[in-house]
């Protein structure tokens, strides 16, 4: 089936540094999402993105977070600067549509971010 790729699979950085998480969504998908999952907890919505714009973001999407998809390449989540509480697995997802039968989201394998 359709696959979403995420690079890197693991990232370890020092607190205060910048990190960029990369997502390669399914090729014809138009809607993109980021989720955060702390170990042992439920997955939580961060942001969704369509047509070059953020559609909605949650309270977890702090000012230090930003997303973009320049020229149809990777969909990225940038955190600058990072904080200890940003340590989590970040899942990227994409869907063909935002509503309806084609709103099924396909998830990437996740990037495990560790902030020291």
């Amino acid at each position: 089936g359709p696959k979403v790729l995420q690079i890197p699979s693991h990232q370890i950085i020092d607190m205060g540094q910048m990190v960029t998480l990369n997502c390669d969504p399914v090729s014809n998908h138009l809607y993109f999402y980021w989720y955060k999952q702390i170990l042992g907890q439920q997955m939580e919505f961060l942001v969704n993105f369509y047509n070059g714009k953020v559609m909605e973001k949650s309270k977890l999407f702090k000012d230090q977070f930003s997303v973009e998809r320049p020229d149809g390449s990777y969909f990225t989540l940038k955190i600058q600067p990072t904080a200890l509480e940003d340590s989590a697995v970040y899942f990227c997802a994409s869907s063909l549509d935002g509503l309806g039968g084609y709103a099924e989201q396909f998830f990437g394998p996740g990037t495990r971010l560790t902030v020291l």
């Binding site: 999402y33 919505f45 969704n48 909605e56 989201q105 396909f106 998830f107």
Partner: protein, 114 residues
């Protein structure tokens, strides 16, 4: 905004017993689309079931659910639990009024033991 309530926390079952995970949603918008996602340990979530048709049963991989708009519910059921069903299950409605943001529930952790 939209919200969803799932069976809380952990559900523990003996293999072979029926599974019932509750999901009710709250929205002011009509025609919600409902999804169940499953996340096995150390994996990413994937779609299990979806529906937008009132009172129509949808089935996949032994699981089934029926969207009841009258009670705003989309409960997940299976007649006989298997060990491999142990996972985290998310109910996620999407409505037209929410900037297409899926409202994931807190998830229900299902543990099936022999």
């Amino acid at each position: 905004g939209d919200s969803v309530t799932q069976t809380e926390g952990l559900v523990t079952l003996t293999e072979g017993l029926p599974v019932m995970l509750n999901c009710t949603y709250q929205t002011i918008y009509s025609n919600p689309f409902l999804f169940w996602y499953v996340q096995h340990l150390n994996e990413s979530p994937r779609l299990l079931l979806k529906s937008f048709t009132d009172n129509k049963r949808t089935e996949h991989q032994g699981f089934h659910a029926t969207l009841h708009k009258s009670s705003s519910s989309f409960h997940l059921q299976k007649s006989s639990a298997q060990l491999s069903d142990s996972a985290l299950y998310y109910c996620a409605p999407i409505t037209s009024g929410g900037n297409y943001k899926p409202t994931f529930g807190k998830g229900t952790s299902l543990v099936v033991h022999p």
